[in-house]
């Protein structure tokens, strides 16, 4: 009986703490956004474009069996507003006609280019250049079975001081690169990486790989993900970045200083969450060397990506994300509570362990003890009901806060009806979506413990010529 009481008390404190931390992050994110708005309200992007001192960027596009979309994706990337751009497409042993499609579109020819494998990768079979488009470089490499290896090959071939990793099936807004680089220009000596926001593409109108009209998707499973993405990026990442504790920059869109990525050995091959893993290793290296640095997040530069539309794909994706989380946390467990890793070791990593990795386990145990306590009459039913209501209200408050942040920052959903829909879904997100997320994450833990590091396929509707999702 005492165990059950104690367990319930711990659960209550845990839940309260998790929500309070998120509330704190929300307040920080709102403050930071207001400050950012005031600071950069007069910042002119065209000045960056016109400046001869704007550093070049290499966009790395890992592509595996992307014959359907690769030409339009590369075309859109080459159209981005940035004065000095290089696009490196890495064909990761595709079994389809990815390279042939590019060859056809850009008249690729084998090039004699110095390629030094500073980061070890699977063999590069050929390097192509386009006579029509000198900014394009295509690497054809043997498949290594992981995205990280393809990105590493791209980093080896990159000639710019900054690299930006982009998914071949995602869409960058035209000004995304300039906006994200503004984060570097603020303090080029210290800023080593900047993450941009990734948003849900489903439902929006897309023409020629450019967003024409932003709209909310129709199905509830997709709208729930819109809220989740807003909460994760606008509240979580913005909040952590404020204290230079950003633990992750999304693999779909982020820029990194090339030399530093090479110093840490590039993306870890066969890591399930290679993006998270890289950022943690960057923190580790820079903290160990006592170098002043900042890993930043900016909400304005936007990358649009397609999210799962069916429950099975979503379940696989969430299980994989959780495997990626464990896969990055476990090898870096020695950073926990070590003075040399500063606030990363004392705050953000313990948070990730306790409130992200272990969250589904603690929730499951909590549900079990609460039910048991109710059955045995140890738990006051009034208290239990109030506790559930409190959890519901608090989580809704945080979700609505992220919608407010969306309104305050880039305000992509212009129509008030869309905002009303978002706010309404904030009320219904908690059941059954969240408990299901818990189950998928538990599955991820189970799969990881069994040694299953597979990515799992995601069924994509695809970006059609007109509408996505």
């Amino acid at each position: 009986m005492r165990f059950l009481t104690l367990s319930n008390d711990i659960l209550f404190v845990y839940y309260l703490l998790a929500n309070l931390i998120y509330l704190g992050l929300l307040i920080v994110a709102i403050t930071r956004n207001v400050r950012h708005h005031h600071q950069h309200g007069n910042f002119r992007l065209e000045l960056i474009k016109a400046s001869p001192f704007t550093p070049p960027i290499t966009l790395i596009v890992p592509a595996h069996n992307e014959e359907r979309s690769i030409v339009s994706s590369v075309g859109a990337l080459l159209e981005l507003d940035y004065p000095s751009l290089e696009v490196v497409v890495v064909n990761d042993g595709s079994s389809d006609a990815t390279v042939e499609k590019l060859q056809e579109a850009y008249g690729l020819k084998i090039a004699r280019i110095l390629y030094i494998a500073e980061i070890r990768t699977a063999p590069v079979r050929a390097i192509y250049r386009s006579p029509q488009e000198p900014r394009l470089l295509v690497l054809d490499k043997a498949a290594a079975g992981c995205k990280a290896d393809a990105i590493n090959a791209g980093i080896n071939a990159a000639t710019s001081p900054y690299v930006c990793v982009v998914d071949a099936d995602s869409i960058l807004e035209k000004e995304a690169l300039i906006r994200i680089m503004a984060g570097v220009f603020a303090d080029p000596g210290r800023v080593v990486a900047v993450g941009g926001i990734v948003r849900v593409l489903n439902g929006s109108r897309v023409v020629d790989n450019q967003i024409q009209q932003v709209k909310l998707p129709k199905s509830s499973i997709e709208i729930m993900q819109v809220i989740e993405y807003l909460r994760a990026f606008l509240v979580g990442r913005e909040g952590w970045a404020n204290f230079n504790m950003l633990p992750i920059i999304s693999g779909a869109f982020g820029i990194f200083r090339t030399d530093l990525v090479k110093q840490v050995g590039g993306f870890r091959t066969h890591a399930v969450g290679e993006d998270f893993d890289l950022v943690v290793r960057m923190h580790r290296r820079l903290q160990e060397e006592h170098r002043p640095y900042h890993i930043n997040f900016i909400a304005a530069p936007t990358c649009w990506t397609e999210v799962p539309t069916d429950w099975n794909s979503l379940a696989r994706q969430r299980a994989r994300w959780h495997k990626g989380l464990i896969d990055a946390l476990w090898p870096n467990r020695d950073m926990l509570f070590r003075a040399r890793y500063g606030r990363v070791g004392w705050l953000v990593l313990p948070y990730m362990w306790l409130f992200e990795f272990l969250a589904p386990v603690i929730e499951l145990v909590g549900y079990a003890t609460i039910i048991l306590a109710c059955v045995l009459g140890v738990l006051s039913k009034t208290f239990f009901l109030f506790f559930l209501l409190f959890g519901y209200a608090f989580a809704t408050l945080i979700s609505m806060g992220s919608v407010l942040l969306e309104e305050m920052t880039v305000r992509r959903y212009g129509d008030w009806r869309e905002v009303a829909r978002l706010l309404t879904y904030c009320l219904f997100e908690h059941f059954p979506y969240r408990p299901m997320t818990m189950v998928w994450r538990l599955k991820g833990i189970w799969q990881y413990m069994r040694g299953d590091r597979q990515w799992g396929a995601m069924k994509r509707v695809g970006i059609s010529a007109d509408t996505a999702g």
Binding site: F53, E407, W416
Partner: protein, 399 residues
Amino acid sequence: MGSVFKAIARSGPAGLVLGAILVSLLGIFLLVGFIVFRRWYRARYFRRRNERTVILRARWNDIVSGKVAPEEWCFEPLDAEIVGSILLDNIEVSTAESLPLLLECLRKSGLLDMLIYQARTARSWRQRAALLALGRTRAKEAIPALAAGLDSKSAETRVTVVRALGRTGIPEAAIPILDRIVEGRLDAPERSMKNSIANCCRNNPRILISYLDQTQGPARELLARVLAEVASAELGDELLVLAADALPEVRASAARALGSTNTPYTLPALHSLATDPEWFVRLRAVVALGQIENVDKIGVLLRSLCDANRHVRQRAAWALARMEPQLEQILQDVVATKDNYALQAFISELERSGAIEKIISGLSGSGQHSAPAALREVVEGARKSVEMSGKAMAAAAGH
């Protein structure tokens, strides 16, 4: 009767949770209310602003010329804001002829004085916004107020001031920045400083020369880098002096600057820089040579094509491959160097530029100008070699 909170506290843990629920619910209502209010307020504000903009735009010429007295609009905050922003936008794209009239309007209406006052007295983001707006005015009297901000304790304010001074585009605005660089007491991001100095000195790069003479080390490299971007033919002999500077960065910048000049001394100077001991100086010289329209550069570029550094060879090949009328002769000269690296680099560039097929057909043609069979074989061999080495290098590098 006690307060609600006292009642909750008396009711134990459940009461506390109930209190938390109430606070959360209140938060939700406040958030939704704020979002709705913000949407309504913004819609109303922009509707009003658009209406006023249309009215003010209709009278724009009279406002600028002073026929509409400033008192008619400058005491109305929304109107003053609209006129101010239109004026600043117009000033940014104004020509030398239209600028004085716009500045006159800014001065007579008191908007300029107001901005100077805000830049001097406001704090935090308000001050930074005023400083940036002041920079956009391109008015000379803004410079002292801006210069004062360079000594601010706030790093953000200093960066804003550096940017604002750059926005003026006036050569005099560079002087406060340059003075502080020389004295080593300006702590601001290098890129912002370079951009601002370049913007200000674009029409008068000579200012930089005198400051270059007073600086050493990294500050000198910074100024040299800016000079490379803004240098013009009028700098004359001074560029030659820089081309002989002890600092390689300065020599590289001089090489870059020489690329935008076309004087009798340009080619000899670049010729000399193309044999510099530092590879990046040679590279800059070769890139600059590529920009110059002069067939006499072929000899220098041919020598650079045999350079020990791969980047220099590639840029030389790039420059040579774009000299279309002379390509056949250049190809023969490249073959005559008997340098396989040079030949590969050149053939590779011809492949990229698409000129190779034309040359091959030219070599295969019959008649007295057709190339000897030996040359054709060398070129075909080099083409195959380029393709093979491309594959081999990639494969070797991947392992």
